[in-house]
Structures are given as C-alpha cells and as structure tokens.
Symmetry: C2
Subunit: 208 residues, 2 copies
C-alpha cells in the first residue's frame, strides 16, 4: 500500500492527488469524522485533532469547513466515475459490460463505505454552487449505467420494459451498499460486487 495512506484503497489511492501531506491528513480525518458524526456533528477542532494539529491549522489548508466537505465530495465522486469508466474499458457484450460495471460499482461502495456514506448523507450540507458541480458528476454516473442498459436492451440482450427505472434500481443497489456494509461482516467487497452484478443481470432479464 502507498505510504501515507491511512486505509485500504483499491483504486490506486483515491486521495493520492491531495497534496501536501498535511492537507491530506486533514481531509482523511474529516472523512472519518463526517462518516461517524455527520458534517454538522463534527467540529473543526475535532478534525484538526484527528490530523494531529491544533484548531487553527485547518485554515492554513482550507478556507472554510464547507470547502473541506466540497474537496471530499469532489475527490470521492471523481473516484467513482473513474472506477466505472475503467471497469467497462475494453469489455464487449452487453451482459459482460453490465457485470463488470456493477461489480466495480458495488465493490467500490463496500471498499470505501465510510467515504461513500459522507457523500450520500451530507450532500445537502453542500453550498449551492458546490452542490451543482457535484450533481453534474452524479448525472454522468447515472447516465453511464443507463447507457449500458439501453444499449443492451436495443441489442436484444436484455428484456427490460422500464429502462430508466431499472437503471435507477441498479445504481440504487450498488450505492446503498455503503449504508449497510460492515468490514467485519461475512462478505468481502468482491463477493458483494459479484452478487450485485448477478442480481442486476437478473433484473435486466439477461439471457443466461
């Protein structure tokens, strides 16, 4: 694992782009605290302490607490998008593509369930301008899933009456993993990914 990274990270370091080191430590401490206590339940002093600094040091690296949340939301959403785009790269055939997509989607949300919880629960805490930028990325994620469903249905590989609704359900299934997943539970992120992919193909009425 890359040095300086505090937790398991399967995407080659979601936080690797955050420099310098002190900025990254603050950001990781914020993710930890936001995941447990929520954005409003977390004080800037608590974040700074988690990064081993005094209260004021946070403002050397981030303008406001809201800016810190935005940095997290941006980094995390871009990581999801990259994960999905990589997942289907070079894979052919509607069923194989959906399987790869949903496997990566769900596995990501298990691996990064704490970061994912932050961005699912605290979207409403973003300021209006920040929220718009994040919403744009989320639309691209949903479009990616919908496009796979649409293409597969058009090719006759899937039997799906409600493309939009079924694609929404697939995304929902993968995203909600972060709400109930516990690392100490019986399933690995890979197993959850495989199950989610399998169930997605069933929802799509894919030929076995």
């Amino acid at each position: 694992m890359a040095p300086g990274s505090g937790s398991a990270d399967g995407t080659g370091g979601m936080w690797a782009g955050i420099a310098p080191d002190a900025s990254r430590r603050l950001l990781l401490a914020a993710v930890d605290s936001f995941a447990d206590l929520g954005y409003h339940g977390t004080s800037t002093r608590h974040i700074a302490a988690g990064a081993g600094m005094s209260a004021g040091a946070l403002y050397v690296h981030y303008r406001t607490k809201a800016d810190l949340l935005f940095q997290i939301a941006l980094t995390v959403h871009e990581s999801v998008l990259a994960e999905l785009e990589t997942a289907v790269e070079g894979i052919e055939g509607p069923s194989a593509r959906v399987r790869a997509l949903m496997y990566g989607f769900a596995r990501w949300h298990a691996r990064h369930h704490r970061a994912a919880r932050v961005i699912q629960n605290e979207l409403g805490a973003l300021e209006a301008a920040h929220a718009r930028r994040i919403a744009a990325i989320r639309r691209r994620v949903r479009a990616l899933v919908r496009e796979e469903v649409r293409a597969g249905a058009a090719a006759g590989a899937f039997d799906v009456a409600d493309i939009e609704g079924t694609a929404r359900a697939m995304s929902s299934l993968a995203i909600d993993v972060c709400r109930w997943y516990r690392p100490e539970g019986p399933r690995s992120p890979e197993e959850i990914g495989a199950l989610t992919a399998h169930l997605s193909l069933r929802m799509l009425g894919a030929r076995s």
Copy 2:
C-alpha cells in the same frame, strides 16, 4: 385525511398516536427540519419555531432533543413494520406474497421519504440505549423479508442461491427509494412500489 395531519399519509396516520396536539406539531416540525438539515444541523429553537412556539416550550413535551429523535425513530420504525405485516396478511403463494411485501415496502419509503431519510441518515445520532431498541425493530423488518424469500425458495417457487444476500438486496432496493425519490418526479409511490416488486421477483428467479 385525518384532521391535524400535515401531509399525505397512507398508513392511516403514522403520527396519529402522538398526543397531545402540541407534541405532534413539535414532532412533525422536527421531522421536517431533520430531513433537510440533519439532526445536528437543526437547533431546538428552529424546531420550536416550526411548531409555532418559543424555544423553551419544546422541553414541556420532550426531555431532550435526543428524546425527540428517538420518538421519531420509534414511531417511524413501528409504522414500517406494521405496513409490512399488513401487506402480506391473507395473501397466499410465494410470488404473490413477495410482490405485496415489496410493493408496500417501497411505496411506504416513497410516501414517507422525508421521515425515512431522517431514520436512515440519523441512526448514528441515537444514544446507545435508544439505538438498541431501534436495531431490534430493524432486525424484525429484515427477518420478515428474509423469511418470505426462504419460504419461497424452500417451496421451489424461487431460484435463489444466496438467500441472505438476495433478501438484503431487496430490502436495500426498497429502503434506498427514500434517498432519491422526489414527489415532483415522474413516478408515483404506487408505480415505484410495483417496479420494486417486479424487480424483486426477477432477482428471486420467480417463475413468470
């Protein structure tokens, strides 16, 4: 609709059991505010103002802000449980029972998406003793879904290898409705319920 109820309510008044009137008004104002701003983001003054009272009046009806959250969590979870138990009452045949169960489950989370968001996002804000009582109800809800899947699989009506995982996915699909549902969107709670039921049966490999 019952008088005194502030919003559409398909379960015959989830909040009808909350008396007197001032207590219920405070509780409804709290749900509204918690759903938008989160538990920690909401001040007791804001709740009281939402119920048309001054700050101190809240403490005539509730011991603490945490007690208020617990009352909400308890009422809402019992409403879900009642909804599911009623949904399958008198219905025979595994597929028909699953269809009724998941229809009710998802429809409830669309109809009451604001209250549902509170209890999904703010579970961590509950005090330990309160959290245990709520967790017990949630286990009963999950068991209800799992039992329908198990019974149907045992009867040969479903083709499902991973009973626990598939049941979890079904619950997840219904619960997550509250995260993305918008009343101004194109789908009614009933349509979402029907789609969720349909997709659940597909995940189960039910005979058409």
